[in-house]
């Protein structure tokens, strides 16, 4: 209840504010202060975390660096604000941050009532289930979980999705609800439940903390859509474009085979598609029309690599999480990540 009323209060207050903030030109603001202020998750494995030295790493973090590279040509000109689920929207509305890149699910109500605009989907997530294959060797599908005890964190949409799905499929189950995700994970590891449900990316992280990761299997069903993406304040179309096209540029670069190591030689390519992406076409105005320099994609790819490189480094084979691309593969490779053409 309290969360709800706070959100309403924040919404009302933001309505009064959007008028004054919206008119502000975010890009020139950022340029004059000399850095991009980016809101990220406090700690979510693979998406946003601090390494031993306190450096930010992760998929969401790298997206911020890509935007900074597009604007300044320098990925280090970004400052991060760690945000909790409660304060993320307020931080964006109040102008404390310029981009919210904090594994936030894109929904219509957030687009309409919170005064923010989502720019794309950095990671297609969805709620899944994990079981211990040694204990339940025959279970290959969620539908076989009849009568199972399921660990879940309270107060999230996760709990609601779980109830909806099992009701719709007429399966009996006993939910064991925990206050936080950490407690739910710990209880599952201690063997309190037959299955554990969470967003799939979180399941992979939880698996690393179990005593025998190899025994744990993530079931194929995904029972909810959680498209996680960055968002900006409503009312500044120019800034929205820059962040949106940074996202598309990451995808287009991967599709065109442009990566961190070959970006310089690709600049000499005669392929018209690549020339347009990298801004080497004669008389191109794509970058300057966005309010950036024409080599903006070169800067992005040099800084963070293309989408695939960012993914593999933080979530995939380069990380202990080892999440497969799945639906997050490019549309050309059976996934649904589709980079709108740069032309």
């Amino acid at each position: 209840m309290r969360k709800k009323s706070l959100a309403v209060a924040a919404g009302v207050a933001s309505l009064a504010l959007t008028a004054s903030i919206a008119s502000a030109d975010t890009l020139s603001n950022i340029k004059s202060k000399g850095f991009l202020q980016c809101g990220v998750n406090v700690a979510l494995a693979g998406f946003s975390a601090s390494d031993d030295k306190g450096q930010w790493t992760g998929l969401d973090v790298d997206f911020c660096r890509a935007v900074a590279a597009a604007v300044f040509g320098d990925p280090s000109k970004v400052k991060f604000t760690g945000l909790t689920a409660k304060d993320r929207f307020t931080a964006l509305q109040s102008g404390e941050i310029d981009v919210l890149s904090r594994n936030t699910t894109w929904t219509v109500s957030r687009d309409t009532s919170l005064g923010i605009s989502f720019v794309g989907v950095m990671y297609y997530d969805g709620q899944g289930f994990m079981i211990n294959a040694r204990k339940l060797p025959d279970v290959k599908s969620v539908k076989q979980l009849s009568g199972a005890v399921i660990c879940v964190a309270a107060g999230t949409t996760t709990e609601l999705n779980l109830a909806d799905y099992f009701k719709a499929n007429k399966i009996d189950y006993t939910p064991v609800v925990f206050d936080t995700l950490e407690e739910a994970t710990a209880a599952y590891n201690a063997g309190r439940c037959d299955a554990f449900t969470n967003d799939q990316s979180g399941l992979y992280a939880a698996r690393l903390q179990t005593s025998s990761p190899k025994d744990y299997v993530v079931l194929p069903e995904i029972i909810s859509k959680e498209p996680l993406g960055p968002a900006v304040r409503q009312g500044d179309a120019k800034w929205l474009n820059i962040v949106k096209w940074t996202y598309f540029a990451l995808l287009d670069a991967e599709e065109a085979g442009i990566n961190r190591s070959n970006v310089d030689e690709m600049k000499g390519s005669s392929n018209p598609d690549i020339k347009r992406i990298l801004g080497t076409e004669a008389g191109t105005k794509i970058g300057t029309d966005l309010g950036l320099s024409n080599d903006w994609v070169v800067n992005i790819v040099k800084a963070t690599g293309n989408y695939g490189e960012i993914f593999e480094r933080n979530l995939g084979s380069g990380s202990p999480l080892n999440i497969s691309r799945g639906v997050n593969a490019l549309w050309t490779k059976g996934g649904i990540q589709y980079g709108v053409p740069i032309r």
Partner: protein
């Protein structure tokens, strides 16, 4: 020499004899303290059994079986989890703490500037220790330095931006350093402010009394989390866009005001315990209000409530962990961040190790405060205590 009627009277003192063997030594101590009655015996035996059962496990988890060196999660994984350790291994994973120690202490404070935090800490200890030792000289000068001058030195050192020190913004601060800054400011502000509020609440001037009551009851009526949340997120929505208040400053003000309200009630308890005769005696000597309060009432009242004051301090020290909800990272917050966020350290033992580390650090500080307060109580004991 006088003759006695009775048969024999001893005329010289007996030499002191050593206590009988049954009254000295470890056996006697055990008999008196551990096995005095049947109930005591039972309790002792049960306690010994519990200790014998738990201690080896605790020690082997903490020390004997623990992993001490490593650079990432593989150091703390068993073979079936993808590491080197024997199957079934379960003990502390200290490399998680040692690799991140600097981060746990200073947060994201730039590496090359950390000497400033260490220097500020060293000055803090250098001023605090002589202040706590009753025999050390120059108490007054020391106190002025610690409470009056030190905050400015620390501010310049930690924030920088002057004297050629690069500016370090507070969002980069974290870890134990934030815990200590919050606790120090909370303690240094709340005691004087609490005294003023307590006096205000007992004042005969209606405006002052009303204001004090309103402040105390309002602040005590809401949880600290709410105060912090309002200070951190609602405030920026009500000030003109572009004006930024430092978040740490907002949290500091929130914590200081909150603890002042509690402190005021503790001090008021001491004031109420003063017999009326003390006030009347002071009045009859012709002392002014401030003389009466400063010389007669307050020294006695504060002495009475030392346990309450220290209790508030310890509570405040632990309450600083609540700044986590406004995305500031005190010691506990930063440990939690490493546990849930860093896939490079995701092992079954990371969470336990991290929390044990945080708990030990908190315990050291709180236990230290508690012991010192008991020492001060004993020193000031003048017949009020038992």
């Amino acid at each position: 020499m006088q003759q006695h009627d009775i048969a024999w009277v001893r005329t010289d003192m007996t030499l002191a004899q050593p206590a009988p063997n049954s009254e000295v030594g470890i056996l006697a101590w055990m008999r008196k303290n551990l096995f005095a009655t049947r109930a005591d015996m039972l309790l002792t035996v049960v306690a010994v059994i519990i200790a014998a059962w738990a201690l080896p496990q605790i020690l082997s988890w903490l020390f004997f079986n623990a992993v001490w060196v490593g650079t990432d999660r593989t150091a703390c994984l068993t073979i079936e989890q993808g590491g080197q350790l024997p199957a079934g291994w379960s003990a502390a994973c200290w490399p998680f703490v040692s690799n991140r120690f600097g981060y746990f202490m200073f947060g994201r404070y730039p590496l090359e500037e950390r000497w400033r935090v260490i220097l500020a800490g060293a000055i803090f200890v250098g001023l605090l220790v002589p202040l706590l030792i009753p025999r050390a000289p120059l108490k007054r000068a020391n106190a002025i330095l610690f409470f009056g001058i030190y905050p400015f030195i620390a501010f310049v050192l930690l924030v920088g931006g002057v004297f050629g020190l690069p500016y370090v913004e507070t969002p980069l601060w974290g870890g134990l350093m934030v815990t200590l800054v919050l606790a120090y400011v909370g303690i240094v502000v709340s005691l004087p402010l609490g005294i003023v509020l307590a006096l205000g609440r007992r004042s005969r001037m209606p405006t002052i009394k009303l204001l004090s009551v309103i402040f105390i009851e309002t602040v005590r009526g809401v949880p600290l989390v709410t105060v912090l949340f309002m200070a951190a997120f609602m405030l920026p929505l009500f000030v003109p866009p572009g004006t930024t208040f430092d978040k740490l400053l907002r949290a500091l003000i929130g914590v200081a005001l909150f603890s002042s309200a509690y402190m005021a009630e503790v001090v008021r308890g001491g004031l109420q315990a003063m017999p009326k005769g003390q006030y009347e005696g002071a009045d009859s000597l012709g002392l002014s209000y401030w003389q009466k309060t400063g010389l007669i009432i307050m020294p006695q009242a504060l002495k009475l409530v030392i346990p309450g004051i220290v209790n508030s301090f310890i509570g405040l020290f632990k309450d600083t962990t609540l700044v986590l909800v406004i995305s500031m990272f005190d010691l506990l917050g930063i440990v939690k961040q490493g546990i849930s966020g860093d896939a490079n350290w995701a092992t079954p033992q990371t969470a336990r190790t991290g929390y044990v580390f945080a708990a030990v650090i908190f315990w050291i500080f709180c236990f230290g405060m508690s012991r010192y307060s008991q020492y001060v109580e004993r020193r000031l004991e003048t017949g009020h205590g038992r």
